[in-house]
Symmetry: C2
């Protein structure tokens, strides 16, 4: 069997660390592994499958012997280094926002639109974490029904911002509980025991990039401009696991039993929906699973053509690292590393 040289770029970050973990679990046919991070981490060692690897930085020629490079270094760094990786011959799977909406870059959730993977021109984009878990929950429904409109409010974990934000929530919580001064560094406002209704940059229309991503990425992944998403994205003091309160509008009255059946028959979804017995998804539950958790399913009180649902996903795994590795896995198994088809 052919083996591949893989690079993980941003290997010390929250997502990069998880990418290495998922690569171990998925057992891809790796020949050489390169672990790449910023100069700050250069020379440090990390362990992968009981073998030590020395962290490198990106230099001229770094990607010449790389087949697939998994990038998670943020948009501005991706814009700087992804073109080099492509030029030097690697296929890049990029977790940042930099290329997601480019017409010649496929935006992929392997369970939903794998058929677009082969159309890559050296870059495949990994969607935003909030988008991935929402489209995963909608997928079995939209295969059967026309979804016109989605209104979603998110409850997002700090790990979506990165490891520094995880540390900040921990430190601020300790300081707050000890009546010590709470310092802010990663977020402009205290996140411990608070909620911050602003994620990413603000646009002229008052929406944040995070909110707009939920609209445009959903349309691109479903290849359907008629699905309209209006979002409010909020950070809450949770370490791992994004939650979403989702309102879905259809063109016909909702049959809740059928929707429940569709969701429970999708292997990628776990329906936890017995609220009378306190059974519903919580972000803590998502730490243990790669499935998307769905619950609180109910018909809109005031609109027979709409329903409400609560969706929880592991933002670091299916929302980022796992989805990226699944794309790599598909590329290898289907031999579409050269793309451009």
């Amino acid at each position: 069997m052919k083996r591949y040289n893989i690079a993980v770029v941003g290997a010390t970050g929250a997502v990069g660390t998880e990418m290495l973990k998922v690569l171990e679990e998925y057992n891809l046919p790796i020949d050489n592994l390169k672990v790449i991070a910023s100069p700050r981490s250069k020379g440090k060692e990390i362990t992968f499958k009981d073998q030590k690897y020395t962290i490198e930085t990106i230099e001229k020629g770094t990607f010449e012997d790389v087949d697939i490079a998994l990038f998670s270094i943020g948009s501005s760094n991706s814009l700087k280094y992804v073109p080099q990786a492509v030029y030097e011959g690697a296929l890049v799977i990029d977790n940042s926002n930099a290329y997601r909406m480019d017409d010649d870059v496929p935006l992929i959730v392997p369970e939903i639109n794998p058929e677009f993977i082969k159309e890559h021109n050296g870059i495949i984009a990994n969607p935003n974490c909030s988008t991935i878990q929402m489209v995963m929950a909608l997928n079995p429904i939209r295969k059967k029904h026309v979804i016109n409109k989605i209104i979603v409010s998110t409850y997002q974990a700090v790990s979506g911002t990165g490891q520094k934000a995880v540390n900040e929530l921990r430190k601020q919580s300790q300081d707050y509980l000890n009546n010590d001064e709470v310092k802010t560094e990663v977020y402009p406002n205290q996140i411990a025991f608070n909620a911050i209704p602003l994620i990413d940059k603000v646009n002229d229309n008052g929406y944040t990039e995070e909110e707009l991503k939920l609209n445009r990425e959903t349309q691109k992944i479903f290849n359907n401009k008629e699905i309209k998403v209006t979002a409010t994205a909020v950070r809450i003091p949770v370490f791992y696991g994004h939650s979403e309160s989702i309102h879905l509008e259809f063109d016909i009255p909702v049959d809740l039993e059928e929707i429940s059946y569709l969701l429970s028959n999708d292997d990628n979804i776990k329906l936890i929906d017995n609220p009378a017995e306190n059974e519903y998804p919580t972000p803590l539950m998502s730490e243990e699973t790669d499935q998307i958790l769905v619950g609180r399913l109910r018909q809109d009180l005031n609109n027979e053509k709409a329903l409400e649902m609560w969706v929880v996903g592991n933002n670091i795994r299916k929302g980022a690292a796992l989805n990226a590795v699944q794309i790599a896995d598909y590329v290898i198994k289907n031999n579409v590393i050269d793309g451009g088809q």
Copy 2:
């Protein structure tokens, strides 16, 4: 000036404690004050305006010399003791859900529907905390425009459950950060660094009582059955301050500047809406103010007749204790203690 005998029933709870604080600030013409709690607290002393008061329990005749009794002891206890208080001659302002939807019990937010106060028959109901802050934010808007439909997702603080829940969030957070075992007592699931998408009992239609309150109480307070509210109520690890992500649908296209003008000209509302400069309401900000905080105002991306907003309120003060004392203040100033008109 006439002076009144006031009782605070549930004086040691989260809301009762705040009621006493607000009573001190409001300087009502109090003759005698009774502080009443469960037998567990009987005989303990509390200080009110530099004077010591001994906590009593409810006995036969307790309310015979009481003019106004502020109750905050939960629905089942209210059902048990409010009738006695009314029978013994007190006007009850009840913070529980027990009587809110009774046809002969006014449900009051003094800034919105004070004209119904005088129609009481011995009981005036204080609305649910989530409802109060939402209707306060909607009030200047609905005076000018027809609101057809509201979709709201809440981010509720643990203090809404009571002092025990505040203690539980604190203890669980400490234990979690110290890698100690996290124990659950008040909530069925861990609330520290988690989100619980279920508040209050579940109905047959899948909605919780908390979610249904937002619909029926809003309609009763606005005296308008045409305002339809679909809610998802979620508890998050915040001590004080409820937040709400609100979607509003009108019968005509939204003029965002006008809505912004209406909100900023309401003294009870503070519009904090400059997200590009990181200015937006957070629950921590609500600890410092009795105003309802509104921000993230923007037109629905996909519906010119709808808008999105983020509303934060102090759930213990305006959401409970302050609103109750404001009702008492209105009763006294307008001499409608006998009601029944």
